[in-house]
């Protein structure tokens, strides 16, 4: 079993176009706070099944962010989307039944409103769910505040400083992608992650 790295933050959320601003906000916040963003979209061995990839990433991550806001009925099939709750369950299982290292795992569970989750995962009652109202900027702040608490790192910039960099990066992203001949409406995860890393390196926090 791999050692869960205290720099790795597993991001569990929807990857569809509608949630892309939220996903981008979560990835930016994690990287701007000095951590590694890990998710199922990262490149891997093509022979590795999706569930095996999730097991590996969860095993390697001390921290995790689970956004349940897109856990909703598919209008076409009338069935709920279960991937996000499933991955939250795997992480909770690793923390509960894993070795000493896995018991150090910490999670941030996000949703649009604080109590909506009780209608579809009542077993989570009593857990502290953080709401963001669907606002990507609020997601950035929620992630930053949580990482300060669970990591106890003093090097993490202030919320205002991270939001300033987030706003400037998101404003610049369409131009950067267009200059590289890439579609601003369909940016690959690996490209987004690398551009965030470059931005954070080149644009230091002002305060």
């Amino acid at each position: 079993m791999a050692v869960a790295t205290a720099r790795n933050v597993f991001i569990n959320c929807a990857f569809d176009e509608e949630f892309a601003p939220g996903f981008h906000a979560l990835v930016f916040a994690v990287i701007a706070c000095g951590f590694n963003a890990r998710c199922a979209r990262e490149m891997s061995d093509a022979t590795e099944t999706r569930i095996e990839k999730l097991y590996r990433i969860i095993d390697q991550s001390r921290f995790s962010i689970h956004d349940l806001s897109r856990t909703e009925l598919d209008p076409e099939h009338g069935l709920p989307r279960f991937n996000m709750p499933l991955e939250l369950g795997i992480f909770l299982g690793a923390k509960r039944f894993g070795d000493e290292d896995n018991r150090q795992k910490r999670s941030l569970v996000l949703d649009i409103t604080p109590y909506r989750f009780q209608k579809f995962i009542s077993d989570l009652a009593g857990m502290d769910i953080t709401d963001h109202g669907g606002d990507p900027r609020r997601m950035v702040g929620r992630v930053r505040d949580w990482l300060v608490t669970v990591s106890r790192r003093r090097s993490i910039p202030s919320t205002a400083a991270i939001l300033e960099r987030y706003d400037s990066f998101m404003a610049a992203l369409p131009s950067i992608l267009a200059d590289e001949g890439l579609d601003p409406h369909n940016v690959a995860y690996a490209d987004f992650e690398r551009l965030v890393l470059a931005w954070v390196k080149r644009v230091p926090p002002r305060r």
Binding site: D16, E18, N83, D179, L182, A190, A198
Partner: protein
């Protein structure tokens, strides 16, 4: 296990066109919105880390200049 949390890019483009069309009925728009909400982000990387760094550098230089 589901293939992914989204469906195909082609379906997403078709759904987007349907949603923008003022002649489209309510049921069709609902189905199109569902398809669009499941369109996945692209998986294929186009930029290396070095290229991404240079792209950001070029943008910042252009903005400063």
């Amino acid at each position: 296990m589901a293939k992914d949390k989204g469906t195909g890019e082609r379906a997403g483009k078709a759904a987007s066109k349907t949603l923008r069309d003022g002649r489209t009925g309510r049921d069709s728009k609902s189905a199109a919105a569902s398809a669009l909400s499941q369109k996945p982000m692209s998986k294929r990387a186009n930029l290396s880390s070095r290229e991404a760094d240079r792209a950001v550098g070029r943008y910042l230089s252009k903005k400063a200049g």
